[in-house]
Amino acid sequence: MPPVVLTFSPAAEHVRTARLVVVAVARRAGVGEARLEDVRLAVGEICARAVSRCASSTQATSPVAVVPVTTALGVAGSAMSPAGSSGPLAPPETVAAAHGSTPWRIRVEIQDAGPLVRVMVTDPAGAVELPDDPVTMAVAEALADTLSITRAQSDGCETVELGWQLA
């Protein structure tokens, strides 16, 4: 299955949309019904975290452009990766694009990578300390089969990757 990419402006009302899209893709990829609620909750936690990080960031403007699109909500399918390939985890070129004061975007990519369905949530908020972060991460970690975090890099982007085994 080609990866699916969703980007949205860091607004709380879009988190539900992100949950719905990711669950739909995960279901199509073969994640069992019993695990889909775990996917829904974990992805909701991480996307809400990304929104909160953007809201709490002290950076006045986005350090990087994250897929500038004209609509408030963009959903794009991509056929760039052949089915079954396990692509690199680094944020794709669309995240670390042009510098400037473009609006912030949160990027969610769902990959069907062999035995795992992987969900990567990237935000450009830089180094942010959220008081509730330990709870959020603990919940996500308990629900996902794998979780890894790439802390804010020089480009300001932080990525949380969640994975679920395909039955």
């Binding site: 539900r16 909750l41 919940v139």
Partner: protein
């Protein structure tokens, strides 16, 4: 509508009925309702989550905040929930030990204010 929050008085308690999804976007509406009830002197709350389809840690934060508020007034906050997907987030965070959780509103109304070991 993503979330509906209504409240009524019954059996000396305020029953807050929540329908829909409690997340980072909708949780403020629940927080506001609980805060309004406490501000109006209602310190014995039952939050009915039976018709909640989704709840994240933002929702947990609102409930914990409500519990702290009523406790300062010697009040109580009981929950009604039987759905496994909602209970799971309470279990993961250890909050099943903090909130008395009941299967029905009637059961919550019959429970004492302070949870005993039997309620946990």
């Amino acid at each position: 509508m993503d979330l509906s929050v209504t409240s009524r008085e019954e059996g000396g308690r305020s029953i807050v009925s929540v329908v829909g999804e409690i997340d980072v976007y909708t949780a403020p509406a629940l927080r506001e309702r609980i805060n309004d009830l406490v501000a109006a002197g209602h310190y014995r709350l039952v939050v009915d989550l039976s018709k909640v389809d989704f709840m994240d840690s933002t929702g947990l934060g609102v409930l914990v905040g409500g519990l702290n508020r009523v406790r300062t007034q010697d009040g109580s906050l009981h929950l009604v929930c039987t759905q496994e997907k909602i209970l799971k987030v309470f279990r993961i965070t250890g909050l099943t030990k903090v909130f008395p959780i009941h299967a029905t509103v009637d059961e919550a109304l019959a429970a004492p204010d302070s949870p005993t070991a039997a309620d946990r």
